[in-house]
């Protein structure tokens, strides 16, 4: 090919390019100059407007397909600044109709304008107005230019304050979220999930907004509808939550905590309760206190209420992000480790004189001692001395290994936002890394009774108890059973996931379960709460020391003992003692779960005095003291929570050990 030929081909290319540009320019001239008037009319005189029709979010159902979160339609009154010439006058007209003060409305408008929303964007003033108000506003619509009433789907949390951290809540998208989520099709003014399942599955349950393209006249009134695109409702979530159980949990937590607060532990403000099915890892109930009613965010949260909520920890899901020492609920794990490692047999007894004989000679919670204790009695009465000795025999390395085996100090894998905390299993390496100090053998004794460096979430604890209940299968807990489209088609089914099968002998579990079942029988630390309960329950009370305030109360259990269908863990922050603070909650949950008629009021109602042995008590515990029980208890039954050694006794621990985490209490 000659150079000339190449050049001529390039010239042809240039001619081609110029032709394209000429065609484009002619087309532009045609649209912009010849047809300009027509398009101006379309763009200004008769504006075409797209009115978004918000898609209803998918519903949520409980394990019996009962709706727990729904969507209803409500009328919202909004102001469109672009169409309002005299804002003050319109607010003046509107305020008596809406029964709101002039100032309230103006504040809302100003707050919205601070967000620099486009002026055509409606500012919601009041959601969920009555039909009566609707009629009144429509009658005066001529005097109210720019006032818009829209029927919009709004979230309806049917049970109010009900698993609120798990379910979450919805609110308008904010600027920061918009930046991240814009590429996924989110737009200004969208309502999005801000927490929990609402946030995690937002994309699946939000649906697809529809719209109406309408031609509006110069006063903004629709003249004709040009097109209609129907909104597509979101998918429905079917949860593993048991509504009846969850309601009972919320109610009992509220009542029990109020009672505990009035009886010596005013700081018992936060708590966590979680129930799980040991056969598959399905979460049956989950509640965290302090909690909130997600409906608050729907009607518009008053500023004052919002300010009150700050600092209460209302948004913390203590079940998944609260990390606590396990206290005595750790003892069954110690028992398992000792039996499995051949360090003890179920026949061996250890003599508790109220004080351990090694190291700094920590005390048992029962200063008179438990006498001869085998593993059953050790679990039943929560004897510290027995488990000090197990700790001494096993050593920290073995204890850590077993704790990790049961999923402690490790994320359980629950799909939820915010993500769960991992917790900490203390070990020699951990201590060296964290404190740059070696492990002291005396510290193993604290660990053996669940105090000291441990920190686990209630979710990990319940999963560990469930693994004892089902004799060795560690499941990944889950709360979403299936996703179903609005047409009823199954979109996704979630099945139980086994994380691991623990290499532990069946006899070991049987021994431990027998010991735990004695906790709720005569002589056990939780007998008071279960003595009239018809189904055998395996349980463990506990108290976790808290350097920040009063001790935390734990209670864990599973039932029925021979075929466990439910495992529960409850923690009441600064509730003092596990039995009194958490026991009644567990009882109420089991009543609801098994559909057992409420027994005589005085036995479980926290508004009644807690039964206890009359005995001299240390001064600082005076507030807990209530009159003697209405019915006598067998003399050997001890209500452990009243027998905690006093501070006096703490300080009696020999001086050289005073820098150690206190080991003398527990229960």
């Amino acid at each position: 090919m000659t150079s000339m030929k190449l050049e001529s081909r390039l010239k042809v290319l240039l001619a081609f390019i110029i032709t394209i540009f000429v065609v484009i320019s002619l087309r532009l001239g045609y649209l912009q100059i010849l047809q300009n008037e027509e398009f101006q009319r379309l763009s200004e005189g008769n504006r075409i407007r797209l009115i978004t029709q918000r898609a209803p979010r998918g519903q949520m159902f409980d394990s019996d397909n009962e709706p727990i979160v729904s969507t209803r339609y409500a009328y919202t009154v909004s102001l469109v600044p672009m169409e309002i010439k005299n804002m003050e006058a319109v607010i003046g007209e509107l305020s008596p109709l809406l029964n709101m003060t002039h100032k309230d409305i103006r504040e809302q408008v100003e707050a919205a304008q601070k967000k620099k929303l486009p002026s055509y964007y409606p500012i919601p003033v009041k959601t969920d107005i009555s039909d009566e108000t609707l009629v009144k506003i429509e009658e005066k619509s001529l005097e109210l230019p720019g006032v818009m009433i829209e029927e919009q789907p709004v979230r309806d949390y049917l049970q109010g304050d009900f698993a609120s951290h798990l379910i979450g809540y919805v609110r308008g998208i904010d600027e920061e979220e918009l930046k991240v989520m814009k590429k996924d099709g989110y737009k200004i003014g969208d309502i999005i999930g801000k927490m929990g399942l609402e946030k995690l599955y937002d994309k699946l349950i939000r649906g697809v907004d529809g719209g109406q393209q309408v031609e509006v006249d110069n006063r903004g009134r629709p003249v004709k509808i040009l097109g209609q695109k129907n909104p597509i409702p979101g998918n429905d979530l079917y949860l593993t939550i048991d509504k009846t159980l969850q309601i009972a949990t919320e109610k009992s937590m509220q009542e029990t905590m109020e009672h505990v607060q009035k009886n010596g532990f005013p700081n018992a403000q936060k708590a966590a309760a979680v129930a799980i099915n040991p056969k598959n890892g399905k979460i049956l109930a989950m509640s965290s206190k302090t909690s909130f009613d997600p409906n608050l965010f729907i009607k518009g949260l008053p500023k004052k209420k919002w300010e009150e909520m700050q600092g209460t920890g209302w948004s913390n899901n203590n079940v998944t992000i609260g990390e606590y020492p396990p206290g005595s609920p750790f003892k069954p794990l110690m028992g398992i480790a000792a039996l499995e490692e051949g360090q003890v047999t179920s026949d061996e007894t250890i003599t508790c004189t109220g004080r351990y004989w090694l190291w700094h000679k920590p005390r048992c919670w029962k200063s008179s001692g438990h006498g001869k204790v085998d593993i059953y009695k050790a679990l039943q009465q929560s004897c510290n001395v027995y488990f000090y000795e197990m700790g001494n025999r096993l050593g920290i390395d073995v204890i850590s290994r077993y704790a990790k085996m049961f999923g402690l100090g490790e994320k359980t894998g629950l799909a939820l936002i915010p993500e769960e905390k991992p917790g900490v299993v203390p070990s020699k390496e951990w201590k060296q890394e964290t404190y740059n100090e070696p492990w002291y053998p005396g510290e193993t004794l604290s660990i053996a009774i669940g105090q000291g460096f441990h920190s686990y979430t209630p979710l990990q604890i319940v999963n560990y108890i469930a693994t004892i209940a089902n004799e060795g299968t560690l499941y990944r807990p889950y709360v979403l059973d299936r996703i179903v489209t609005p047409e009823g088609k199954l979109l996704k089914q979630y099945d139980p996931q086994v994380r691991r099968q623990l290499p532990i002998k069946k006899e070991t579990f049987e021994i431990i379960k027998e010991g735990m079942s004695r906790v709720t029988q005569p002589g056990g630390t939780a007998y008071n709460y279960f003595k009239d309960f018809p189904i055998p329950v395996g349980g463990k009370t506990g108290t976790a020391q808290n350097s920040q305030g009063d001790d935390h109360g734990w209670f864990v259990c599973f039932a029925p003992v021979d075929d466990p269908q439910i495992a529960i863990a409850i923690l009441v922050e600064q509730g003092g003692h596990g039995g009194s603070a958490a026991g009644p909650i567990a009882r109420a949950m089991l009543d609801a779960f098994f559909g057992i008629e409420k027994p005589q009021e005085q036995d479980i109602s926290p508004s009644q005095p807690l039964p206890q042995q009359p005995q001299p008590v240390p001064a600082q515990n005076e507030a807990v003291q209530t009159p003697p029980p209405s019915e006598a208890i067998e003399s050997q039954v001890t209500s452990e929570e009243n027998q905690q050694p006093s501070l006096q006794e703490h300080s009696n621990i020999s001086e050289e050990d005073s820098n150690l985490p206190i080991v003398g209490t527990g229960e």
Partner: protein
């Protein structure tokens, strides 16, 4: 860099592109209204892209384009790996899985694949002058384009696929393939369209249907065409004024900072603003053709022709779709649309043109 080389830098092209980039910053700012409270959100990010783009441009100028020729096989392999990665770990934004997310940013490898296609074709066509006159030679050229094309269609990114064909045809034509054969290929391509129709996604079919009659689906697929034409048409001779376009501000325009940025120009700056922009582009392309003619070797000429074909098709398709001349496909307007990958790719392409011009000693010495 060699001072002699710098003397050969085509400053009129550099200045034209600088004007285009500044123009784009104004329009991008205007297009941010109605989308974000922070109206400078896109502006700030685009400035970063422009600065990065200029740095890459300078880097490209510093290497002799014949070095690029030697590296072309590796670049081609790298491109295949990237496109494969998109299919495997890519992220989906707006219906197509074309992106790789890196932290807060997303990269669109298909933008860069266009450049690599240009390089590999320029090498092949310049080294096989006789072979490419045969059907076998033409088939091999199609094969070079066909492999990445399959990945791109899988995403699916129809716009980029069409750009590939524009590049291929421009370069085959300039490379000396007999015109009869080219016409035959184009003819059979058009004849095969009814068969290709069956391979299109539903939304792609919709776009073609509403191209013929937008009123078929005024709220769905036709919405964008109708609203864009209203925007441009209502702009008139002088436009409604910068930051004053109601179609833009009221969000009637879709993606007004990227794919529909020309509609904002048409609405706010009118026919005059649009013609100014088109004149800048035409000047750039005319200078490009002159650089192609003056290049010291066939490889250089073909590189420039490839880039020019790419620019031309982007302009034709992007502007064309906003005024109802072309069906809608999402490809950006060079130097105007907001976007990191496209800005960087366009600056690399510009660097290639300037590079060929700087090293055209054949004529200078």
């Amino acid at each position: 860099m060699d001072r002699k080389l710098l003397k050969n830098l085509d400053y009129s092209v550099v200045i034209t592109v600088c004007i285009l980039l500044s123009y784009s910053l104004f329009i991008i700012t205007s297009a941010s209204f109605g989308q974000f409270a922070d109206v400078y959100y896109y502006l700030k990010r685009q400035i970063v892209w422009d600065i990065l783009g200029i740095s890459i441009l300078i880097f490209i100028l510093s290497i002799d384009y014949n070095v690029i020729k030697k590296a072309s096989r590796y670049l081609y392999g790298f491109m295949i790996v990237l496109l494969l990665a998109v299919l495997l770990i890519g992220a989906e934004h707006g219906g197509a899985k074309s992106w790789i997310d890196i932290g807060p940013f997303s990269m669109q490898p298909s933008e860069f694949s266009k450049i690599i296609i240009i390089i590999i074709l320029a090498k092949y066509l310049s080294e096989n002058e006789t072979l490419i006159k045969t059907w076998r030679g033409i088939f091999l050229a199609f094969l070079y384009v066909g492999i990445p094309l399959l990945f791109i269609l899988k995403q699916p990114d129809l716009g980029t696929a069409l750009v590939f064909f524009a590049i291929l045809f421009g370069m085959l034509f300039a490379g000396g393939v007999p015109i009869k054969k080219l016409m035959l290929i184009a003819g059979s391509g058009i004849a095969a369209l009814p068969i290709l129709w069956n391979f299109l996604d539903k939304y792609q079919k919709n776009r073609l249907i509403v191209f013929i009659d937008p009123n078929v689906d005024p709220l769905g697929a036709g919405y964008h065409v109708i609203q864009s034409k209203i925007a441009v048409g209502s702009g008139g001779l002088m436009g409604k004024g910068l930051f004053k376009g109601t179609q833009n501000l009221l969000n009637f325009l879709p993606e007004q900072h990227t794919d529909f940025i020309f509609s904002v120009i048409g609405e706010e700056l009118g026919f005059i603003g649009a013609i100014v922009l088109l004149s800048l582009y035409l000047f750039l392309l005319w200078k490009g053709i002159k650089i192609a003619m003056a290049a010291k070797d066939k490889f250089g000429t073909l590189l420039v022709v490839g880039v020019l074909s790419m620019y031309t098709f982007h302009i034709l398709e992007n502007v064309g779709m906003t005024i109802g001349l072309m069906p809608i496909t999402g490809i950006p307007l060079p130097f105007m649309s907001y976007g990191g990958s496209s800005t960087l790719a366009n600056m690399i392409a510009l660097g290639i043109i300037l590079n060929v011009r700087m090293r055209r000693q054949k004529i200078m010495f």
